[in-house]
Chain length 436, copies 2
């Protein structure tokens, strides 16, 4: 014996019941993404460190990226931290691609976080991005995509919060003249957790004057019906060209979407990553309160960092783990399938294996997911295991069945039990499974 | 601009057309694996180095495993080198799992190989394993699974070569008394490339006597109808208990499968990995000659290295890259789908976007994968792009269509063109796509 088995800290195995649940959710997401005409891609889990460096901001870069030096080549590699920077590198690597390029990418990313409940070092993102359109309709499509995806998954009560990086910088940096905006944004970002009073306290502690703080509080209090909110901003800062332009951009987004219930303009939405340049979005569920389940925005300069010329891009990332946790809590998802097997051939005596094998083979040919005992277990043990795995159909092969070339089929759901000629077995099983 | 875009050496991006092909192949493999009642799992891409160490043999361990030291924790990690050792660790980590446990695992693994045509540093394995059965029927099921999988994928001419690690060691080590069997196995392994004459030359160069070499050549020449071959071995080494037992085990495997055309006993089959303990298998295509496309065997001691008590296991791994390369060469796979999009809404004037959006939304609700222009391109440019992507259905929205609340649908496959009321659009498009 070499070593105790250890799963790396912060990493997870997916057992069949979890895997099957995750796959059913991913399949639904894919269905919506493809309905919108997004195409799937994949990229390596590793990138050269220089590809990821300088894209995410200081914290991610100094603490959160899994990076290492390859002892053979001496080169620095990193596990991808998200799917957006790899997309930018992808675009630069495939310059023949037709723009606008709409791709989705569902896969794991790695962050060197301190593991805690619901936070892992390896987790899945489900990203959809549009590359090559600077227009509001691209941002609108991303928001509509999120709405439809959450709908398809069965979520009902959620809000898409929208803001714009240019409005943030126009207002806080140009108009209010903050010279430490990043610190202010970080405080604003905590609004959900610490409330307006908490934000006020921290802003004052930062050394900002009372008047300035109350202006900031007024602004981040703007979280309402989108077009009205934009009018309010415009009325306050109508002389600032950057603010006006981004308000117009957002107005078009909102007017295409025409959804006043689930979309909100929210000046307190900041988002952390360095690469955003325009509209920002984040989706929160009403219940449970688990932070955002999706986020994204426009990043018109990121691809240019690889390509030398800018290509505009906008997108969204859904966090699979949070979606699943929330869906389980809300009861819209369930861990109820322990195996893909639909039928179990129970072999009463090992000498009957060859006949039982033929029955199993036939069932598989008809598309029934079929297990057959491979452990030479007793009938009781085979039944017990099948019951634990909730396999709905049992097929008993005893001496009588072998001699008469029949099989006894038991539907554990309805209690029905029939003995039929072997060539009838697949048909009966399919009927029991409501497949014909 | 920071850096030129660079894909890490030996790694690949999957563009949509490649991704879609790969997915369709993986879906077929999954369908067969699940028909046999194998359940999906996943494990982290990283394991602690100590989990992988000492399992694969010297070459893999010293040269081929991507390993690194985490600068924060000082711990050694490695990217998984295959899916078998992670399975063994998984079993030890989940001791409540019901045995026999049949799992499949499809995902990337990483090897620090020198990249060359068809050989990558990140590639996919499709593994199916049965944990908890020492019996021949488990090995038989693995072989039957491989046969069915290749059938489902459309391969027709292939051979499953079978041998047994115990027969190899019984014959070469115990009976022929070779004291450097590993070196001999390595030479035998090259039979396919260098032929019998080449093997003879190299064995003589190793310093083996003429008589011994000719015995070895006789043995590895045994590659025939399985049961006959086993009889031949037994007649030569009938007094060696280990050889007799493993011959009996294989005989049962062959008699369950009862397939004389596609299964062959082959004494020249060696296989590299250290952890095998019993039956070995490898699948080769008749054409193209690209090495094995699947391989596996029994490894009854590997799980015990983690668990402290042995649990028998047997399985197979299909190499996705080789399957795809071979299938493309044989013409059974094609890269013909450049996008998942089935319909493109072509907007003749940007002012018509909102009406066009409603048409697109409606199509998506009916499950049609629909793109709409987001780049404010000219009609010609929109048509050109749709043509390049081979999108079959075009839906034109011009002033007339908007005013009359209609859309003009063009089936690029048949040349059909109709203008219909907007509420008729999904039905007509679905009909053009042969979906209703």
């Amino acid at each position: 014996m070499n070593s105790k088995p250890k799963l790396p800290r912060g990493f997870r195995d997916f057992t069949p019941e979890i895997y099957v649940l995750r796959r059913s959710i991913i399949d639904k997401i894919i269905r919506v993404f493809e309905r919108f005409g997004f195409d799937p891609i994949d990229t390596p889990v590793l990138e050269y460190w220089e590809t990821l460096a300088g894209k995410y901001g200081e914290e991610a870069e100094s603490r959160l990226i899994w990076r290492f030096t390859d002892p053979w080549s001496g080169r620095d590699y990193a596990l991808r931290y998200d799917l957006t920077v790899p997309l930018a590198r992808f675009i630069a690597s495939h310059q023949d691609i037709i723009l606008p390029f709409k791709r989705y990418h569902i896969g794991p990313v790695w962050r060197h976080e301190e593991p805690q409940k619901g936070r892992y070092r390896e987790f899945y993102q489900c990203d959809a991005d549009i590359v090559g359109s600077p227009y509001p309709e691209a941002d609108a499509e991303i928001i509509e995509l999120v709405l439809e995806t959450l709908d398809e998954l069965g979520f009902r009560e959620f809000i898409v919060r929208v803001n714009d990086r240019r409005i943030l910088s126009g207002v806080f940096e140009e108009e209010l003249g903050l010279n430490n905006p990043i610190q202010v944004y970080r405080i604003i970002d905590k609004l959900d957790k610490i409330g307006l009073e908490g934000v006020k306290r921290e802003l004052l502690k930062l050394g900002l004057g009372e008047v300035l703080v109350s202006k900031i509080l007024d602004l981040i209090g703007i979280s309402a019906e989108p077009i009205e909110s934009l009018k309010l901003i415009c009325s306050k800062y109508g002389s600032n060209q950057k603010i006006i332009e981004s308000c117009r951009h957002l107005e078009e987004v909102f007017s295409i979407l025409n959804d006043k219930n689930r979309i909100r303009f929210d000046m307190s939405l900041v988002r952390g990553l360095d690469y955003y340049t325009g509209p920002l979005l984040e989706v929160n569920l009403e219940k449970p309160r688990i932070g955002s389940i999706a986020g994204g925005g426009r990043y018109d300069n990121l691809i240019g960092m690889f390509l030398g010329r800018n290509i505009p891009a906008t997108g969204v990332s859904l966090g699979l783990e949070r979606l699943i946790d929330a869906g389980l809590e809300l009861g819209i998802f369930n861990i109820d399938k322990l195996t893909v097997a639909e039928a179990q051939v129970i072999v009463l005596e090992w000498s009957l294996l060859k006949y039982a094998w033929i029955i199993a083979r036939e069932l598989r040919r008809y598309g029934v997911n079929t297990r057959i005992d491979l452990g030479r277990s007793s009938e009781e043990s085979q039944r017990k295991k099948a019951k634990k795995l909730k396999i709905p159909i049992l097929i008993f092969i005893g001496k009588i069945e072998e001699e008469s070339k029949t099989a006894t089929i038991y539907n554990t759901i309805t209690g029905e039990r029939v003995t039929v000629k072997h060539e009838e077995v697949p048909k009966i099983v399919l009927r029991f499974l409501n497949k014909i």
